[in-house]
Amino acid sequence: MSTLLKVENLSVGMRGSTGVVVPVLENLSFAVEAGRTMALVGESGCGKSMTALAIMRLLPEDFVVTSGRILLEGEDILSASPKRMRSLRGNGISMIFQEPMTALNPLFTVGDQIGEVLRWHSGVGLAEAEQQAIALLRAVQIPAPEQRVKAYPHQLSGGMRQRVMIAMALAGRPKLLIADEPTTALDVTVQAQIFDLLADLQKETKTAIVLITHDLGAVAELADDISVLYAGRCIESGDADSVVSHPCHPYTRGLLDCVPQLKLGPRPPQAWSDLAEIAGMVPPLGARGPDCAFLARCREASELCRSRLQPALEPITDDHAVSCWRKSELAA
């Protein structure tokens, strides 16, 4: 499989009021192949969404890419013209947002909105666009698509709207789909349906997916590869199975410990085990030093860690890399 998206040493900074650029993302690298799913995992404020927006070239005004390259099929999108970028959005890369309740224009029918994307990217006429919109709604498993195509967003439930969003995102036949926490705002039952839908659609269309989430259950189910971000730095990456089953970085372990495990049995257990948490908070922007970003919260930190800089992301096996000074001890 060829590499579709390659992010190389991407750094993003926020320009403060004094002109100082505060790093938001540091030296992030990853690659996504066609038909595969890459998950970006981490707490809020770790730079997951910023990564997505940087790939879309839709970073908010004060944010700038300070270094690195983003290659889509070998084309550097950071240097693409605004016009080229417009045709890439929707067609090369598209994005699903977190909040389906607010991500659709309330004044137009869903058919209009999907149809518009179709008309930009494949130049079809109005009638043809409506037919294709119905087909897309059917593909995302919306019942009675012939009627729903004329519905306004407020007439649909959250799960339905997220399906519409997915239909809209797929309308331009993108090679890469960025899903920014696509299920966070939805019911648990609907979450599972949306993930199944994404997996099915990916199988048919061979679209690469960058899945941004903090739902590790979803990662285990959907993702092929994982990058765990902490405070704007990638601290563990690799094959999804390997990272989920043998997490090496203390942060990844902490995240996995935070997932509640349901124990089934005839009686309640003798002793209830507390759900783990990671004490402390992600260091705020501007408070990130040159040493290991996770140091202050790490239970495994040693004197060695305190005396050194942020460790490099180094492989421990063929398909698994960790950024930790004690990786060999912890992996054992």
């Binding site: 417009r86 929707g90 224009n105 498993q141 019942p143 004329k150 519905a151 339905m160 809209m168």
Partner: protein
């Protein structure tokens, strides 16, 4: 034997209620408007006034500039609302003057909104240097006293109805611009705008099809009210003697007869009442429109 349906792809969501034929936002707003008492009253009154000026000449065929009798004839069977200081018919003046006043109001409001929308939209959408420049221009127009500025414009370019209309538009667009700018700034960071951009929308599409329709509700309300303001403005200019002397209008009638109000009240009171009723009806309509398209306000009321 019953067969079990297995073809439904989604057990959870297929039970959701069937979609009703959906009403467009415009039709929903219209229905809501009909439920607002003030809006309906205002609309009825406004329709009466417009109808009066439209079919008035058929019922009451008198030329408003003709001298039909002696000056200051009290209302009688010949001149229903009396005559003014030159002996012109007041009712005929009201009918023809209403056409001018309403037309000036409507066109000036259109100009106001057109300039305001354009400046506000560009300013709010692009931000940065464009915004800074446009805000400076808006502020420049804002600090000029509007009536004085309009008087200067009319004096400079001649006392014609078109000049008066343009002058009113030129001095009153700033609030519409600020309103539109604020709406655009609020909207441009919303998810559906980002989503549209992410799907490949260009600037023109975002401004015209995504942001503008969503920014319109408050602007429509202010446009409605701008008609009333423009009518008052035209009245004010005419009252001060800067009206178009060749075209009868309510303000002109008021201005020319104001010195004789104690002797011939009818020549002043009737045009004054006409302006009052027209502006009142437009304000009521604006109220109704606001109720219809601003759901949050509606709840509170």
């Amino acid at each position: 034997m019953t067969t079990i349906e297995t073809s439904t792809p989604l057990a959870v969501e297929s039970s959701s209620p069937p979609v009703r034929p959906s009403a467009s936002p415009g039709r929903v707003a219209f229905r809501q408007f009909l439920r607002s008492p003030s809006g309906v009253c205002g609309a009825c009154l406004l329709i009466l006034i417009v109808l009066g000026t439209a079919i008035g000449p058929v019922v009451y065929p008198v030329d408003p500039l003709d001298l039909v009798g002696g000056p200051f004839t009290a209302p009688s069977a010949d001149a229903w609302l009396g005559t003014d200081y030159l002996g012109r018919d007041v009712l005929a003046g009201l009918i023809y003057g209403g056409r001018a006043s309403l037309a000036v109001g409507a066109v000036a409001a259109l100009i106001t909104i057109a300039i305001g929308l354009t400046v506000g939209a560009l300013s709010g959408f692009f931000g940065g240097a464009i915004d800074a420049a446009l805000v400076k221009i808006t502020e420049f127009f804002q600090i000029l006293p509007p009536l004085l500025f309009a008087m200067v414009l009319v004096t400079l370019f001649g006392q014609k109805l078109t000049t008066i209309t343009l002058a009113i538009g030129a001095v009153s667009w700033t609030s519409a611009a600020r309103l539109t700018r604020a709406e655009f700034m609020r909207l441009r960071n919303l998810d559906f705008v980002k989503a549209s951009r992410a799907a490949g929308a260009g600037d023109a599409y975002l401004i015209l099809r995504v942001l503008l329709p969503n920014a319109l509700p408050p602007v429509i309300v202010s446009a409605t009210l701008a008609i009333g303001v423009a009518i008052l403005f035209e009245g004010g200019l005419s009252f001060l003697g800067l009206g178009d002397p060749n075209t009868m209008s309510w303000g002109l009638m008021l201005g020319q007869n104001r010195n004789y109000v104690l002797d011939a009240w009818w020549a002043v009171i009737f045009p004054g009442a006409a302006i009052f009723l027209a502006v009142l009806s437009i304000s009521l309509v604006g109220d109704g429109v606001n109720d219809a398209i601003n759901p949050r306000l509606r709840r509170r009321m």
